[in-house]
Amino acid sequence: MTATETRLVTARLRERPQDSWTMEGFLASGGYTALRQALGMDAATIGPEVVGPSGLRGRGGAGFPAATKWSFLPPDSFPRYLVVNGDEGEPSTFKDRMLVELDPHQLIEGIAIASYAIGCNQAFVYLRGEFALGYERLTQAIKDAHAGGFLGRDIQGSGFDLEIVVHRGAGAYICGEETALLESLEGERGMPRIRPPFPAIAGLYAKPTVVNNVETLSTLPHILQMGGAKYGELGVNKSTGTRIFSLSGHVKRPGNYEVELGITFRDLIESPELGGGVPDGRKVKFFIPGGASSQWLTGSDEHLDAPLDMDFVQQTYSVMLGSGAVMVYDETTNPVLVAWRLAKFFAHESCGKCTPCREGAGWVEKVLYRMSHGQGRPNDLDLLFDVGNSISPGVVNAPFTQTTICPLGPSVVSSVASLHRYFRDEVVEMCSNRSPSIPVRAS
């Protein structure tokens, strides 16, 4: 059977490309009915009795069960805040941008449901600074929702109040890490905080705070409408429901595809209704299954036939589905060049707070630069290992040990571990044919 999309969260934006982001388009396609439904329920039951049975796990990267996260809030501590993580910056992830630009009311509805469920009256959306159109659409949608009585005081006569502030970031990947995001929202440099205390206890302004991803919240209205148990029947094992995968690179049909979890990477990459396969009859050499921070998989049948199941791929191959970005590279790709560009990204985005990440990322980048530009040395992979071990002791054993406050440091060594695991011979061969010229470096 050919794998196809299962559209819940993306249904409206695909079916109404002309007006999915407007109040008219939203209301005409069932918008805000889930919020009304939620407001008629006992707020305290929504987490444990609806979201819990749905099995919904965070769509930002870590995959933590959403209802469990909510349950960590201390019962009698107010005010409390909901903070929406819309700082999508993981390389090759582009689902949240789509959801904010094309269906902002769905996000607002999800925020309102979550806020009602956890008892908060003030939510903040931390939106990536570069999303200028998304910012315009979301702020307009919030104004329209106010006018329509879906935000503000006494929403739909329920007695529940909610305000949403959209806060633009300013170009720092690390602010997608939840505690760095909170620092940034408080007007500080975006540097992660040491936990504990966790945000649920002392988050924004040291108040109890839940941080949820854009896609996670955009899924809530559908869970309310379907019923938690019904949603939980979708998917596979503990990876329930649908997820949006951002497919890019060497595929005929790159783009965002919402699929039921449990289909295989081959389905996603090759199905004619999804990725459509690699162009020009070439084959997959390797792919990065969950954003830049994940280890890689190869074009082997075993890897391509692995299911999109968060726990299975973690336990079996030490990779993660992470943010849902799948980058595909064909046989013409030099894996060292890709590894170098990833290292350059992490070196640039390291916030500088922890020494192993700040210094280590720079060294990994420098060594990978010379390796990918004809100046590699035969023992360079071992040198990378030495540096990698200082960032994450036992570098090939994922999940990586952490010497840093946040996971950005360990992410630096994912590509090093992947080169070692799958391309060692190719890399050593490349590094034994050193070019006589000295590479000139622009910056």
Binding site: T93, G129, A172, G187, G190, R341
Partner: protein
């Protein structure tokens, strides 16, 4: 520089949205940059006054973020992605072409940026945070030229609308 009357009123509205005024540093820096085309020391001093912190604290925050241009830049900020999807689909070639072509053009600042979340239509770039996708070097140059000639109307330097 000082906020003009409209933006000063807007600045106070923004501050009032937050339980703590310091949270307004980022939005006020965007506002100042949209007004002036860059984030000047004077603007940071004024922001400090409005939110009630020292100018050093505002600088300390703003210097962390790449979107804040603390030296004057061109009217058109061209941000070209070369991250791992654009890397294999032609991003670096676009960057090189635009850097050469506009090397001496004071109106155009070309910068290399990290993933713009437009990988489905790679290679891509932004001009003042407006997306342009499915590019090649010639198409990218044509887009920049369209802004210069006024065929395309540009956002302000932090992605706002004048």
């Amino acid at each position: 520089m000082n906020f003009n009357a409209t933006n000063l009123a807007r600045a106070h509205e923004i501050v009032a949205q937050y339980p703590h005024a310091k949270s307004a540093i980022l939005p006020l820096a965007h506002l100042a940059q949209d007004q002036d085309g860059w984030l000047s020391p004077e603007a940071m001093r004024e922001i400090a006054e409005i939110v009630g912190v020292t100018p050093a604290e505002v600088l300390g925050t703003c210097s962390f973020y790449t979107m804040f241009k603390r030296t004057p830049c061109g009217k058109y900020l061209v941000s070209v992605c070369t991250n791992v999807t654009c890397l294999v689909l032609g991003g670096p070639e676009i960057l090189e072409h635009l850097q050469d072509r506009y090397a001496t053009d004071p109106d155009v600042t070309v910068e290399e940026v990290e993933c713009l979340a437009a990988c489905g239509n790679a290679p891509s770039m932004q001009v003042n945070y407006e997306y342009h996708e499915h590019l090649n070097p010639d198409l990218a140059a044509a887009v920049v030229d369209d802004y210069k000639s006024g065929t395309l109307s540009a956002r302000t330097i932090s992605g706002g609308r004048a």
